[in-house]
Structures are given as structure tokens and as C-alpha cells.
């Protein structure tokens, strides 16, 4: 019975997030448009000068998809922080509902939004002349790796929001996420960077996902053998931040 309750609680909390979307379609739309804007900017305005073998758009799109997954962190943080500021979390916590349901609702909604975002970006990518040559299974695998990265970022975001609990920290993270996102191979190959920077970039978990995804899409910049790293990095992050976030939520009242 309690497993059924847990499922029902998680579904109720997911419905709550979906109801928020229905209330604010414009905000949802802006969330989808922003990464598309970035893609167009880098594709047409900045991209021309990048030293990459093959078409830059083929290099850029997988990188941009990866970056979008990482930037999802801010959205999650903002939403959790905003929730905590309001009294409604007190009501949830004083009710006999499943402990983690509030967080699961957030996670499900964010994953749905990210999946929708990915599809939009893929569509725009195709319109820009991007093409994937890896076949449908590899294509699905690539999307899976991207969503796995997003899932890890999600729980980092929830944890950071619970630790900080203040909008000021969200701003700090919103700024910091840029250098972290750019210290990757999303826009440029590490070989084109100074030696030490290239090393940092190669060790960025985001780069593992980008490289593996490029490989699966059959795009330039991909290298075989990175899929394992692209699975293990997010799993490692999850192993740390998922329990931390849940624990933090339980301990809100101490």
C-alpha cells in the first residue's frame, strides 16, 4: 500500500508542476527558446572561426545539446529555491506524504521539459543543416546519454538549492555555470586550447558526454570508447548528490 501511496504522491507532485506550465505557457516557451537562440548565435555569428574538421554545425549541435543539459541546473535551482521560500513546502512537510515526492515531482517535470527541449533543438539543428549518421539506435543512445547528464545536473541543482535556500546563491550559480559550460569541448576541440586548459576540458564530465554523443551521431569530434565515461560520470555525480539532496530535504527542519 505504501508503495502505491508513494507513486501516487510523486504523480500528484508532478501534476502540480505540469499545472504550473499550463498556467505560464510563456515562461515554458522562453525556456525552450533560449537554448535555440544560443545555437543560432554560435552557429551563425560566432562559429565561423572555429578550427574544427568538417562542418562546424555538425560539431556544434551535439555540443550545444550537452550544454543545454548542463544549463538546466539553473532552472532546477531557481524552481526549488522559489518553492522553499513559500509556505507551501511547510504544508507538504506537515502532511503524511512520501518524503521525497516533492523532489521527485520537480525531477520528473524538469526531465520532461529537458526532453522537449532536446527535441526542439534537434529540429532546429536539422534546419541548420546538421545531420546525424549513426543510425536510429545510436541516435536514441545519444539522447539517452544527454538526459542522463541532465538527470545528474538536476540533483546537483536540487542539492545546491536546498543548501543555499537563497536566491542570491542561484545568481552565483547562474554566473558560474557559464565558465563551467564553456570549459568543455562544447564549442571547440581541446586540442585548439593551451595545454593545461585542454586537460581541464578533457576532464570536464560534460566533455565526456559531448564526445560520446558526437561519436554516436557520427559527427566530427567524436571518439569511440567515450560512452562508458559518459555513463559513469553522471552516475558518479548522482551517487553523491541524490542521497545528499534527499537527506537535506528530510533535515530541513533541524
Amino acid at each position: 500500500m505504501s508503495a502505491a501511496y508513494a507513486l501516487s504522491d510523486c504523480w500528484t507532485m508532478t501534476r502540480r508542476e505540469l499545472a504550473h506550465w499550463a498556467r505560464q505557457p510563456v515562461a515554458v516557451l522562453v525556456g525552450l527558446v533560449f537554448p535555440v537562440m544560443m545555437l543560432l548565435m554560435f552557429g551563425y555569428l560566432v562559429g565561423g572561426g572555429r578550427a574544427v574538421e568538417g562542418e562546424y554545425v555538425d560539431f556544434l549541435v551535439p555540443g550545444m545539446l550537452t550544454l543545454t543539459m548542463v544549463f538546466g541546473l539553473e532552472g532546477t535551482m531557481t524552481a526549488v529555491t522559489r518553492d522553499l521560500e513559500k509556505g507551501v513546502v511547510d504544508r507538504f512537510r506537515s502532511m503524511p506524504m512520501t518524503d521525497g515526492a516533492v523532489l521527485v515531482g520537480r525531477a520528473t517535470a524538469d526531465m520532461l521539459q529537458s526532453a522537449a527541449g532536446l527535441l526542439v533543438m534537434v529540429g532546429v539543428g536539422y534546419a541548420m543543416g546538421w545531420s546525424a549518421q549513426g543510425g536510429p539506435a545510436a541516435f536514441a543512445g545519444a539522447l539517452g546519454l544527454l538526459l542522463l547528464l541532465r538527470f545528474a545536473m538536476l540533483w546537483i541543482g536540487i542539492h545546491l538549492a536546498l543548501v543555499a535556500g537563497k536566491p542570491e546563491l542561484v545568481q552565483a550559480v547562474q554566473i558560474l555555470v557559464w565558465p563551467v559550460g564553456f570549459l568543455s569541448n562544447a564549442f571547440a576541440a581541446p586540442e585548439s586550447m593551451p595545454g593545461w586548459l585542454g586537460t581541464v576540458v578533457e576532464w570536464n564530465p560534460m566533455s565526456a558526454t559531448a564526445t560520446a554523443v558526437r561519436d554516436l551521431f557520427g559527427n566530427p569530434g567524436g571518439e569511440p570508447g567515450w560512452v562508458t565515461a559518459a555513463v559513469l560520470w553522471p552516475l558518479a555525480l548522482l551517487a553523491v548528490f541524490f542521497p545528499l539532496a534527499v537527506r537535506r530535504f528530510r533535515r530541513l527542519g533541524r
Binding site: 501511496y5 501516487s8 499545472a19 507551501v88 511547510d90 504544508r91 502532511m95 503524511p96 527542519g253
Partner: protein, 317 residues
């Protein structure tokens, strides 16, 4: 102390925030089916008490039982039996009234249909039926409070916590909340009500605990507290400021109970027997040859009673 008859029991409860004690050995017992007022100034520990009772905050020391269950060890059982109306609306501001109630109903596991029916019943009971899809953030203060109260009554709780339920409401909104609380109590709910207004506690509560500095400093029925803290008073205004101290010595008041206001040349003291004291005062002034500008008997204000109860402990401590 009879555990069986108490809906709320707190014994020697302590809670610190860093170095600052918020609850400093608080004791509280509330019998089932009664309204208990928790009265005290800002920062006295009222909200901390409610948050500990509602399982939102873990206390450091002491025993806390709600509806017969330990809040730390049996939090889930406690949560099934309580309703909470906090100081700030605990509602999803983006959603409409019905959406909110339905969501909370689902979380109490009433099922989709049950939650919907319960939401409609509560909306009707609190006069919110025609709010439609309007988001809560566009509600008036009174409407929001009513919806918040409705949300805390989803499952007809055994114990209801109301943390300053009328703060920030206009007199009409206040009256509406009082009305709702009274009808709940008729239904057998135990209510713990925190308030800064003695009038509110006086109107609603069967018993009152006056809280200050994280401890209960006085407890009793509203009548008992008023007679203890707020006896009738006599005010004497002396014409010549220079003779104020002389007048204080001449008057038959206990020094510890006497207030002297030099700016207004006013001496004020509690009275047991109104007419006898009045006569005594007039005689004493005459005998000392001190001219009074005014001598008046008056009832204490409720605020005075409250201030005296909380003041006295500071002197004692």
C-alpha cells in the same frame, strides 16, 4: 498530568538556534476538544512551538506528544492527525483554490474523486465556490486565509494549529476566521492558537498560556489571567510635580505594584476594593496636604494585563 486526556503534551522542551534558545524548557498540556491560546510578544517562542508540534522542526530536548504520538518517533502518525495554519499562507500561489485543495486531498490519499469532492465541499463551506481558476496570488488577504484554513481541514484533523491566524487581516477577515474556528471546536477539534492579541485569545480560548522567552510564564482561563494580571486600577495625578515622591509615600499603595509617570505627574496602582481605596486615597492626600488634579478608577486595558504578565517574569528572572 493525564496523558490520556491531552491532545498536546510538551514537557521541558528546549530548542536552540545556534546560541540562542528559542524554547527554554517549555511545558504545555492541552486537553482534547478545547481551544488553547498561546499568548506572547514577538520572539517569545510561539511559532517555534507550533513548528515543533507540526513536525516541521525537531526540538533538542524534552517530550512532545500530539494526539498521543511522539512527534519525533511517530511523525507520520502525527501528520495524519493534524492541520496547520501558519503565519504565511501555505498554498501554491500559482494555482487556483480548487486546484490547491484537490492537490492536498490527493496527498492525504483521498483518491482523485474523493479529493475533488472534498475540495468542492470545503470551497462551499468557506464561501470560495466562485473563485474559479483565479490563481491564489490574486486573492485578497481574507480569501487567502480562508483557503489556507480550508486546506488545513482536508481530513478533519484531531488537532489544529493556528499560528497567528488573523495577523494582517482587517476586522471583517478576523471575524470570519474566528467564526470558522468556533464552528470547528463545536465539531470536537482541539485547537492550539497562537496570538499577540489578548482579545483574540480571550474570545476563542478555553485556557491561555502566556509565553515569554521560550517558557510559559502564566497559565489559566482568560478570566483567571485577567484577574491575576489586570486588576482595576486607580490613577492619581498630582498638581505639583515637586511633591510627586511625597505623594507616593503618602498613598496606601504597595511600592512594587505602583507605577509612577513623572512627565504626566501620574501615580497608578492596582485596586482590590474600588470604593474603599478611593476613599483612602482622598483621605491620605488630604492628610499630607497634597493637591490632586485628578483621581480616577478605571478597568485595566487588556494590553496592560498582557504586558504585566510578561513584564513580571523579566523582573523575576
Amino acid at each position: 498530568m493525564s496523558v490520556g486526556g491531552d491532545a498536546i503534551l510538551m514537557e521541558g522542551v528546549r530548542k536552540r538556534y545556534g546560541d540562542k534558545p528559542a524554547l527554554d524548557g517549555l511545558d504545555l498540556a492541552v486537553r482534547r476538544g478545547t481551544v488553547h491560546g498561546l499568548l506572547g510578544p514577538n520572539g517569545a517562542g510561539k511559532t517555534t512551538t507550533v513548528r515543533v508540534l507540526a513536525t516541521l522542526l525537531r526540538h533538542d530536548e524534552g517530550l512532545v506528544r500530539v494526539a498521543g504520538h511522539d512527534v519525533r518517533k511517530e511523525a507520520a502518525r502525527v501528520r495524519r492527525r493534524i492541520g496547520l495554519l501558519g503565519q504565511h499562507a501555505a498554498l501554491d500561489e500559482e494555482l487556483g483554490g480548487r486546484q490547491n485543495l484537490e492537490m492536498f486531498g490527493r496527498l492525504f490519499h483521498l483518491g482523485a474523486r474523493g479529493a475533488g469532492q472534498r475540495a468542492d465541499a470545503l470551497l462551499e463551506r468557506f464561501g470560495l465556490t466562485d473563485t474559479g481558476r483565479k490563481p491564489v496570488k490574486r486573492y485578497s488577504g481574507g480569501m487567502r486565509r480562508r483557503l489556507d484554513l480550508a486546506a488545513s481541514l482536508i481530513t478533519d484533523p484531531e488537532v489544529l494549529f493556528l499560528d497567528e491566524p488573523t495577523t494582517g487581516l482587517d476586522p471583517r477577515g478576523r471575524g470570519e476566521v474566528w467564526e470558522a474556528v468556533r464552528s470547528l471546536v463545536d465539531g470536537g477539534t482541539t485547537v492550539l492558537l497562537t496570538t499577540q492579541y489578548l482579545e483574540e485569545a480571550d474570545r476563542l480560548a478555553d485556557r491561555i498560556s502566556v509565553v515569554d522567552g521560550g517558557r510559559v510564564v502564566a497559565e489559566g482561563t482568560p478570566g483567571e489571567l485577567k484577574s491575576r494580571a489586570g486588576r482595576d486600577r486607580i490613577d492619581v495625578v498630582v498638581r505639583d510635580a515637586a511633591r510627586l515622591d511625597e505623594a507616593v509615600r503618602a498613598l496606601p499603595f504597595r511600592p512594587a505594584e505602583t507605577d509612577v509617570d513623572r512627565d504626566r505627574r501620574l501615580i497608578s496602582a492596582p485596586v482590590r476594593d474600588r470604593m474603599a481605596t478611593l476613599a483612602e486615597v482622598v483621605r491620605a492626600l488630604e492628610a499630607a496636604g497634597i493637591e490632586a488634579e485628578d483621581v480616577a478608577l478605571r478597568r485595566p486595558t487588556l494590553d496592560e494585563a498582557f504586558l504585566r504578565l510578561t513584564d513580571r517574569t523579566e523582573v523575576a528572572a
